[in-house]
């Protein structure tokens, strides 16, 4: 029965990311335990790193995710040097977290904010925005999700957690 609509929504890139889950860690540990210079979640932590994390839940289906970021520097130029997440949910939300990891790790806060706005705009477009793959990378695979308003929340969940974590470090 597998329809083309299903294949458009669940593109192979999404199914692959849901499985490989880039940036996912089994245990985030306690945020309070993180001090500048201390290793976090087994990741090398440069000195001067500032951490924040946000936990988000999709009440419709119970998906949940915690996204943690570690920044060096301040303001819009601050660098996202650490990114880790832990979550449980559908393939759309898990793949989105994996793609988010690939998209923002190593970028500046300003650059990631641009991507966040573009991603959100595309998802809210009900299928009318065709993403530029040069700009979006694997995130372009979520274009199909925008035709399913009930699933937009799933795709946005990690990005909303990321945004909330960044806000704490403003």
């Amino acid at each position: 029965m597998t329809s083309s609509a299903m294949q458009q929504l669940y593109q192979q890139i999404i199914l692959d990311h849901a499985k490989s889950a880039h940036g996912a860690v089994a245990d985030l540990g306690e945020l309070d335990a993180l001090t500048p210079g201390a290793p976090a979640s087994g990741l090398a932590t440069p000195p001067g790193l500032r951490h924040a994390q946000s936990h988000q839940v999709n009440t419709t289906c119970g998906d949940e995710i915690t996204v943690r970021v570690g920044l060096t520097g301040t303001g819009a130029d601050a660098q996202i040097d650490e990114f880790a997440w832990r979550g449980a949910g559908c393939s759309i939300s898990m793949a989105s977290a994996s793609v988010l990891n690939d998209t923002v790790r190593g970028t500046s806060v300003a650059e990631s904010q641009v991507m966040l706005d573009l991603f959100r705009e595309m998802l809210r477009s009900r299928g009318t925005i065709e993403p530029d793959e040069e700009v979006f990378g694997d995130a372009a695979a979520f274009a199909g999700v925008s035709k399913y308003p009930a699933r937009v929340k799933c795709a946005m969940l990690p990005w909303v957690a990321f945004e909330a974590a960044l806000l704490q470090l403003r």
């Binding site: 609509a5 299903m6 998906d63 393939s91």
Partner: protein, 438 residues
């Protein structure tokens, strides 16, 4: 050789034939539509059921012919409205083996649970005097629930415990989705004041042994609160025979409209219980400092009532009664059996709750290994199959069964065998599509 004639087929509990189901479907306009290019297979009646034409007509007839405030006004329409409103109460009372003054209208079942929980709170504050002492809770008292409860029969009791200092305890669920009755016999003790339990599980489909639980509770003078949301629509319910003290159910799960639910309370208990919501329509004498309250059920029905919804619910009850609750139960046992046999035959699909051969209401919740329920639901929806995904308002039960979410197909009297088969066929395609075929 003696010949023993087989007992005559008792029409009262004989399953519905497929012709009868098809005739029934003609009364439900919403079922006849395409969803994503496929005929709709509505398998989410456990969440909300569909309305037959007679229910929608009853509501329309009320607004076209009789709309007026009930229990007040001296004009003809007001009398006509009051008459049908109270006739609806009588219809629902008969349907569940209750007296009319034991039936309180609420907005939904959740409000009914909260009504009782807050009446207990008010009694705990001393309202209602000596008569309501039996509802007053304090530190040292215990409220017992089960691990199987829908959040609506859990959180109001958690909150009541928090407000009164009482302790909340729970009866565990066994891995097969039944209650641990041996544990229950230990947990229910002389400190137990209330036992709140669901009649049938909205997740695992188990029909709980209410007689045993009532016996346990009453032996220690505890009251029993029954969540009948998943039983009232699906089997012949006799609350007096069950001997529960309170019960709730909701209209929209039994062919009725949204916005109407029912609280049942034994007459002597309702008569002794202080009100929850207060205001107009529930008083006798009012002065600036205090008020006297009406007898039940009006004492618990403050403000303008859900008149059209009550009348429409009575029409739904008439529809169910004419079809026959015994026959509906038998039909749904067949559908539940078909579901359970089908899902257990699919590799990688785990059925939650009792397996083949154990009676259940007409639903089955499953976990597809490696695929989140939300994705399963999306895949089914693409084929026109409507199911519920998520935790079904029962997070503790899902946790106990080792999953965070599940996919639930639930049936009703209008469900066909073909719809169940279609669900099973598409469910079998889920794992291969998501690349977790083994």
């Amino acid at each position: 050789m003696t010949f023993v004639a087989p007992p005559p087929a008792t029409a009262l509990d004989q399953t519905l034939s497929s012709d009868e189901v098809l005739r029934i479907r003609n009364d439900f306009p919403v079922l006849h539509q395409l969803v994503n290019g496929h005929p709709l297979a509505y398998l989410d009646s456990g969440a909300t059921s569909q309305n037959p034409i007679s229910v929608m007509e009853a509501e329309q007839e009320y607004y076209e012919q009789r709309n007026a405030a009930v229990h007040r006004g001296a004009h003809t329409l007001a009398f006509a409205a009051t008459e049908v409103f109270e006739a609806a109460r009588a219809t629902v009372a008969r349907f569940v083996g209750a007296r009319e003054d034991e039936i309180v209208w609420t907005s939904n079942a959740t409000e009914g649970v909260n009504l009782v929980a807050y009446s207990f709170s008010n009694a705990s504050l001393g309202q209602g005097g000596a008569a309501s002492a039996r509802f007053a809770l304090t530190a040292g008292d215990e409220i017992v629930v089960t691990e199987m409860e829908h959040h609506s029969n859990l959180i109001p009791w958690q909150q009541l415990a928090l407000r009164t200092g009482a302790t909340l305890r729970f009866i565990p669920v066994l891995p097969d989705g039944t209650l641990d009755l041996a544990a229950a016999a230990q947990i229910v003790n002389p400190r137990t004041r209330l036992l709140a339990v669901t009649h049938a599980s909205n997740v695992v489909g188990t029909i709980n042994p209410i007689d045993d639980l009532v016996a346990l509770a009453h032996a220690v003078d505890a009251l029993v609160f029954l969540d009948a949301c998943q039983s009232a629509p699906h089997l012949a319910l006799d609350l007096a025979a069950l001997d529960v003290d309170f019960a709730v159910f909701s209209g929209h799960k039994m062919l009725g409209p949204t916005g109407i639910g029912v609280l049942y309370g034994k007459a002597d208990l309702l008569a002794a219980m202080p009100p929850f919501l207060t205001g107009g329509s529930m008083i006798t004498t009012v002065d600036m400092e205090k008020a006297e309250f009406l007898a039940p059920p009006q004492r618990f029905e403050a403000g303008t009532q859900r008149i059209s919804q009550a009348i429409a619910l009575a029409a739904a009850v008439d529809y169910l009664t004419q079809t026959g609750m015994g026959r509906i139960r038998a039909r749904e046992a067949d559908l539940g059996h078909r579901l359970v046999e089908g899902v257990t035959a699919i590799p990688g699909v785990r059925l939650l709750g009792p397996g083949v051969g154990v009676e259940r209401i007409g639903l089955a919740a499953v976990d597809v290994a490696g695929v989140h329920a939300h994705d399963v639901g999306q895949f089914l929806d693409e084929a026109g199959i409507a199911v519920r995904v998520g935790h079904h308002c029962a997070q503790p039960l899902h946790r106990k069964l080792g999953v965070t979410a599940s996919t639930r197909a639930s049936t009703y009297l209008y469900t066909t065998d073909d719809e169940v088969d279609q669900f099973l066929a598409v469910l079998a395609e889920v794992a291969p599509f998501f690349g977790v075929a083994r």
